[in-house]
Amino acid sequence: MTAPRGGNLDGTRVLDLTHEPGFFTGKLLGDLGADVVKVEPPGGDPARRRPPYWGETADPERSLLWLAMNTSKRGLTLDLERPRGRDLFLALAARADVVLETAAPGWMDERGIGWRALAARNPRLVLCSLTPFGQTGPYAAWRGSDLTVVAMSGNLFCTGDPDRAPVRCTLPVAHYHGGIEAAVGVVFALLARDATGRGQHVDVAMHEAMVMPNVGTAAMFAFSGFRGSRTGAAIRLGEGIGREIWPCQDGWVTFALRGGPARVPGLVAMVAYMAEHGMASETLRAMDWKAYNHNLLTQAQVDALEREFGAFFRTKTMAELYHAACERNLMLAPANTAREITASAQLAAREFFVEVENPGRGRLRYPGPFARATSADPAATAIGIRRPAPRLGEHTAEVLAEVGVGEGDLARLRADGVV
């Protein structure tokens, strides 16, 4: 991998104190060119001790969660429970642009390294706190996690099957939503600082970030009192519900029986595809799709359509159906696993995956840039992974040297367990 340099956030110094819920924020800022330094306790972040491990060997340098979410960062150890550790942190923060943290509200203040202390030393600093419920309000002191904030947001209630409990995504979507929201807040605050000269404390609640994905339902509730419902692999269609996720030969595909100008051509093309295989009835071939309005269907009509489409999908694989979708403009997509994702011709053509060299452990294939930039000076705007996730304390000496800690001081700090 030739790591990109420069970037829109080139020259921005970020200290990343976060635990798992906030890892993604620093990764994104790093992918945009910021110099992100992960600050861990000397024993390492708890995520390093969480399986699965690369190669199944329990090793803090092989936790896949850690390796996945901390690319584009340097790494430093510092014990913030000790006065000397806090002094060094304050010295680093005095010359930083951004501090990211996910501690319980009040934790930073109790240690004399909260917003007031940081702003007093560096009025240009942006502090971004990402927590389950925010810095204020009756829930601020509550502990929370992906599952509980997704539940509180209303999103969970609408996810899953009608006959079972609401269900979450197995990976923590609240961390992704909250993590990106925090990154947006940081860059907005940097824009404001460039205009006013003053930093600010950005307070991001994962709970609030998770309300946005169901904003349509929140709006509907205000208008109609409808609180959403779980329909499993289906959505509301007219007076009934219709399937959106269908079994095929080797997995599952999504396909909607919804109309509207954007979707009708896809329905017409799908029926033509089925007809080529002798699997479209006369009734289906005679449908007037221009007049089709899914909001007016009865359940019996939905069921009749489903029988024909469903029977056809069962004769095809995910890859066959997706290939046809690309060729024929069908709005159909396979429910991809990591296997299909890493085998994608589209992603290969865009050189999306990158090999990241992890010293002592080997090369590991990663999803690369979350977006592409084109500009007169591509190096100055490049997006993507800059460096592998740091090994524990990998850059302690180099980062502390930037605030004047020499070799002798460092040896003492190590002996005292401060770093």
Partner: protein, 312 residues
Amino acid sequence: MTDLFAGTRVLEFGGGAAGPVATRYFADHGATVIRVESRQRPDFLRILRMTPTTKGGVDGSEHFAVLNANKLSVALDLSRPEGVAVARRLALWADCVAENFAPGAMAKWRLDYASLVRDRPDLVMISTCLNGQTGPERHYPGFGGQGSALAGFNHLTGWPDREPVGPYGTITDSLSPRLAALLLASALLHRRRTGRGQHLDLAQVEGGIVCLTENVVTYTANGEILGRLGNRSRHAAPHGVFRCADEGGRDRWVAIVAHDDRDWQRLVEAIGAPAWARDPRLATTAGRLTHVAEVEAGLEAWTRTRTPREVA
């Protein structure tokens, strides 16, 4: 709301959620955001649930209203050269342009970055569609439902013994606008500092896959395909959603997570320390993971007779 972007002009082409939610971040902070819309082909959120009796017609969609608050709208017919000429003047007058059409649509009107940048060298523009502006599958049509499936979210959401369901709210439609807002803001910062513009290509599927980096590296490192675990976790137990007493004839539920043994101790006390919960086999995370069904059944027996308020 702040006036951070007062005086900043954003011109928006397209519709649905992924583009409009991104520009709302700027509208909410004082930018003048102008949507270019078509009367011939209204934004699909304007007509998603429209029937002949919908009050307000194309202006009656609450879903559209929520995503597009604080914006202005100009209706132009881009099938006519006069309409395209007006759109071009607006694009050159704007500080940034956002679009989420299918790739190629903007070029057809000569409103793409390559055409506009000749007359506006510092233009900041973002294009976002499912698969990106390049590659053999760039023309693949779709909305968030397809994006979620392609990026891997559907496969990871639901019960292990049933079909995938996908997180509610077509998740790439809500992750992508956040990424788009981040990209636009970082490009504006870069322009403020260097005077230079850029074109950003956000493929919503790629953005979703980057969020799910753990899903990919678990496979590329160990060959393991992550699957649906319901609400369970491989690292904590209990980690689930439990049925409470119904309220007003409606099902109610509560999410309960014990991340470690201290959490579990507190939970045991909170439910009155029944004998089953004091079983030493359940005192450690490893033990609770082994006997997770027992833990879940015990908890649900307790929650089932209580309202969520009583439980929480």
